[in-house]
């Protein structure tokens, strides 16, 4: 512990020294950080541990929903092998849809968000604060109600159909072909503002001197954007995209209220396939196995992004 600190080059700070003198021992000072973590730890890990273990446990069972636990049979890895190997398994279909859904949403939100944030960052914008505040609103709305709202608008006699009709478009959103674009569009509508706000904050944080210096050196607007603003924004872009990606991977609400995974299985992303395995196929084991797969997928993405954040932060610190 002691040598670790010296290696960090910071040594003891005053507070540490004082506490050490006051309490008169190393032991209390050493366990204090852990004692402070205890309440939070108990109510997160403590609450989640048993259900998580149950999730793993159930994934090895052959157990029908609605029947007593005593009817459950140990099934080994069969739920997993069925999901990965059976021709009637929708796992890969769901994975593909999930990646499509989250990938397209994040990329589109990032693109539009960056463009609008750059526009907002012009020298003089009338009512900039009001605009920023306004952009907050869609991100705050209850996803279930957002799904319901768009469901009403996308009916053939709904508001969206009317306005699309004005420009000569006639789309039946309730077909296998258009259901996925519909939910992606709703996601983009609701969460592009999240990117706008956070990227705008990032743009604001770029010191004026750097951009001015580049301008004096003769860099064009596009070059300044691409070679100064974007690298500077990179950590914010990654963090925002990470948060969004994780929301999207586990998303359920909007797709559930819009289509409940249908028509057919056109919008059956992973969250929905967990739901469907449980309530339509009434198979607790397979549903739990899908849950494990989703949890692992989420963890992998989180881990990659966390590594990336640490790396980009180190790179930033080195370059400063």
């Amino acid at each position: 512990m002691e040598s670790r600190k010296r290696k960090d080059g910071n040594g003891l700070n005053t507070a540490d020294v004082i506490v050490k003198q006051r309490v008169g021992g190393r032991s209390f000072r050493q366990i204090l950080p852990y004692v402070c973590l205890l309440p939070a730890f108990l109510f997160t890990v403590g609450v989640l541990l048993y259900p998580t273990l149950k999730m793993f446990h159930f994934s090895f069972l052959n157990w029908s929903f609605g029947r007593g636990y005593e009817t459950a049979e140990w099934n080994g890895l069969q739920n997993y092998t069925w999901l990965f190997a059976s021709p009637s398994s929708t796992l890969f279909h769901s994975l593909r849809l999930t990646l499509l859904y989250s990938g397209v949403s994040v990329v589109a939100e990032l693109g539009i968000g960056l463009a609008v944030a750059t526009l907002l960052n012009r020298e003089r914008i009338f009512g900039r604060v009001i605009v920023l505040t306004g952009f907050m609103i869609p991100t705050l709305l209850m996803p279930v109600m957002v799904g319901m709202m768009w469901r009403m608008y996308m009916y053939p006699n709904g508001m969206l159909s009317y306005f699309l009709g004005l420009v000569g478009l006639k789309i039946n959103w309730y077909t296998a072909e258009w259901a996925m674009p519909a939910v992606i569009m709703i996601e983009i509508w609701q969460f592009t503002p999240f990117f706008i706000i956070s990227l705008f904050a990032g743009l604001r944080a770029i010191p004026d001197e750097i951009l001015d210096a580049a301008a004096v050196d003769g860099a064009s607007g596009w070059n300044r954007f691409w070679h100064i603003s974007v690298p500077y924004l990179r950590p914010i872009i990654v963090v925002t995209a990470m948060i969004r990606m994780l929301w999207l991977l586990k998303s359920f609400d909007i797709v559930y209220t819009m289509f409940t995974g249908g028509p057919g299985s056109a919008t059956e992303i992973l969250g929905l396939s967990i739901y469907r395995a449980l309530f339509l196929a009434r198979d607790i084991g397979r549903s739990a196995a899908l849950s494990v797969i989703l949890a692992v997928l989420t963890l992998i993405v989180t881990y990659i992004f966390v590594r990336f954040i640490y790396r980009s932060r180190e790179a930033m610190e080195r370059s400063l």
Binding site: N13, T14, A15, I18, V19, L32, P33, C36, L37, P39, A40, F41, F43, T44, V45, V47, L48, P51, T52, K54, F58, L119, L120, R122, R124, F126, G127, V131, T133, M136, I137, P138, L140, L141, M142, P143, V144, M145, M148, M152, N157, M159, W189, T192, P193, S198, P235, V239, T240, I243, K250, F252, T257, S287, A288, S291, L294, A295, T298, T302
Partner: protein
């Protein structure tokens, strides 16, 4: 217009005119984009005041008379006040408990160096992002075992694991922003560490508590999956009431519009309350990790 002409006539440089034009065009573009983004929600609000017959009219009747009939219907027939109350209780208790249980951990992460700190931070992040839908059925089983199905406490208990890590993550940055020297000087003056925290740091953290709290409240208010599976009548919250309007093919538009407004407007108001911190909260909270 007059002022612009004046600029021209007083023979200002072309650059200045160019800047002015740039700001007008950019402002106009930004406002149009904003209005496009807000239009669906504004439409929901306006149409919730239209008579049931006008709501589904095609093409839309933009100038039909307004009424509060839909609102009185959801308060009388569906008793939405009951669900509003449930939502408020669950979200409020979740917020307060999350903050209380998270603050010491946030302090620990912000102020101490200890073995395994990075890994514990990872653990909290991993928990914060764990997919709800994966754990819903085990939750249902556990809640049945300990008799917490369809109770406010049951919902709160299962909301905590997601909100505490978020609160730790947010509050940590707020604690870091309070200069260590302030606490150190209190320690020198003879305060205990606890006393220094209570007297010096805690009052400075009030904006942090408030901001974090509002975000937690919004999240808990909007939460659908757990509420949908764990409640049936007594503790049912707002998001799960959409079922009422979705009964077997007959989709009731008019009360749906009103319910949509009732369930979202309080949250929009909450969000506007922390407008200033939405930026600092999301970006600082995310970046410093």
């Amino acid at each position: 217009m007059g002022r612009r002409l004046q600029y021209f006539s007083s023979n200002r440089t072309l650059l200045q005119w160019h800047r002015r034009l740039d700001s007008i065009v950019a402002s106009l573009a930004v406002w149009i984009i904003l209005i496009l983004f807000l239009a669906p929600y504004l439409y929901l609000i306006v149409w919730s005041f239209k008579r049931p017959g006008d709501i589904q009219a095609y093409p839309p009747r933009f100038l039909s008379p307004l009424t509060v009939e839909n609102y009185s219907q959801i308060f009388a027939d569906v008793n939405i006040a009951f669900f509003l109350k449930n939502s408020a209780i669950v979200a409020g208790v979740t917020t307060v408990l999350s903050l209380l249980l998270a603050i010491s951990a946030a302090y620990s992460f912000a102020r101490f160096r200890f073995l395994g700190k990075d890994w514990l931070a990872y653990l909290f992040i991993a928990i914060m992002v764990a997919p709800l839908i994966s754990l819903v059925y085990p939750f249902l089983v556990v809640a049945n075992q300990i008799g917490l199905t369809d109770t406010h406490m049951g919902l709160v208990l299962f909301y905590l694991p997601w909100n505490i890590p978020f609160a730790v993550w947010m509050l940590r940055t707020f604690v870091s922003d309070v200069p260590q020297e302030l606490e150190d000087s209190a320690l020198v003056d003879g305060c205990t560490r606890m006393g220094a925290f209570a007297r010096i740091t805690a009052p400075l953290l009030i904006p942090g508590f408030f901001t974090t709290g509002v975000f937690i409240f919004i999240g808990a208010w909007n939460e659908f999956v757990i509420a949908f599976f764990l409640t049936s009548t007594k503790a049912r919250t707002l998001p799960t009431t959409i079922d009422f309007f979705l009964t077997y093919g007959s989709f009731q538009f008019a009360p749906m519009f009103a319910a949509g407004v009732v369930s979202t407007l309080p949250i929009v108001a909450c969000g506007l309350l922390v407008r200033r911190y939405y930026l600092t909260g999301t970006t600082a909270g995310a970046l410093k990790g």
